[in-house]
Symmetry: C2
Subunit: 242 residues, 2 copies
């Protein structure tokens, strides 16, 4: 499994992904699931969930494809809008799954993957998409300002209740860590370290990134403090009267 979240905020975009992959519970590994491409006119970040062979092939194809043989710029970055970038990524994802699964729809499930795609192309706004294995996609908007892929359920209630697109990046990271902490505590196939990346609106430059390892003091402070804070929050509500 996997857990990845991306936030669409007034200040820009925030991405977080775990790094655990597994084939059964007795075969776990650590792989990066966050990838960024950029040049002077575009910044594109992708988070991946699903079959690792599929997602690695998608990332390699996005890396290697050029519009012309001597072009140094990946074709991915040469689009006029984020919508066109999403169509490009969706087409590559569908193509890779189809190539692995000549058996058709039934076989495709095993090779399936979902992606979150976010970024900005010069002249447009920052945009965030969830790309399905069929190659089509949906976009995050004001009513649903975050997207999740992988093991989405354990970490969803805290985001639904407390996330607000107008908050600062600093508070948003705290919420993301709480959402990941709930998921990691409940599902063995989601694990540390976590990758974190920011994109500041209209900067057209990748923002700072962090890797949050098991010994990260901030993560430990949030995870340990949360049990106590949560019990205080519960205590602050009136008890049921039997």
């Amino acid at each position: 499994m996997t857990y990845c979240v991306a936030l669409r905020m007034e200040r820009g975009l925030v991405f977080m992904s775990d790094t655990r992959t597994n084939a059964g519970v007795d075969n776990i590994s650590s792989y990066r699931k966050m990838f960024t491409w950029s040049d002077a006119d575009a910044v594109v970040t992708i988070l991946t969930a699903g079959n690792l062979a599929t997602t690695q092939a998608v990332v390699s194809l996005l890396d290697e494809r050029r519009q012309a043989g001597d072009d140094r710029r990946p074709a991915l970055l040469a689009h006029a809008s984020m919508f066109q970038v999403a169509r490009h990524v969706g087409a590559v994802l569908r193509e890779v799954i189809a190539a692995s699964a000549p058996g058709g729809a039934g076989a495709e499930a095993a090779f399936s993957a979902n992606l979150i795609l976010g970024g900005q192309v010069r002249g447009g706004a920052p945009r965030l998409f969830l790309v399905y294995p069929e190659g089509n996609f949906i976009e995050a908007g004001e009513d649903t300002p975050f997207l999740q892929i992988g093991e989405t359920k354990y970490g969803r209630p805290i985001l639904l209740r407390a996330f607000d697109a107008g908050m600062g990046f600093e508070a948003a990271v705290k919420l993301l860590l709480l959402s990941f902490d709930s998921t990691i505590k409940a599902n063995l196939s989601v694990g540390l370290p976590l990758d974190l990346a920011f994109y500041e609106r209209d900067s057209l430059t990748p923002g700072p990134t962090r890797r949050i390892a098991a010994d990260d003091p901030y993560f430990a402070a949030v995870s340990e403090g949360w049990g106590k804070a949560l019990r205080s929050a519960v205590d602050s509500l009136p008890d049921f009267v039997l």
Copy 2:
């Protein structure tokens, strides 16, 4: 879908279930999923999740089966221990599923169901079991003092973090309502009203029950207060430093 939880506490047992059933999102109904049998020597409560025809048939069979034709006491209550009650219930569940699915394992999935079974038989302690469609079961213990069936993920983090078997029934109900509120907000197929039942250790009498409807003022206070309390809890943790 469905959501049911049972808590194994020092003071006794607490049960909560929703009442929504659905066949697709355009065909929803309200059915009770909590059933209690009792006599002078035993109290047994069952919560049901899964195919409604299966769970209704199981409940009817548990109601009707007698050890002898003129026996007024259901055979379910005539066992010497909760373990024997669980074997009885598991056998009935497996029998009903098998009768609906002569096609074998593949067909069985559609008629499947899970049950939570809790109660006390005179001479034993209160015990809590999760019964699988195959008829076998696991028991809640000190390390895992609660059981869930149905849509378990959204409501699990709050229970993992804040539930403690030594707390009072009044605080436990508050936690249950928070767990149900998170689930109801995220999954349309879990819905109000909720059924709530208590069993006081060694009483050998069914405890009080409540039905919590959409207009219940306590549920509204908890649900509305929780957003604010949660945001205060998040605010009490240190912000990430970019």
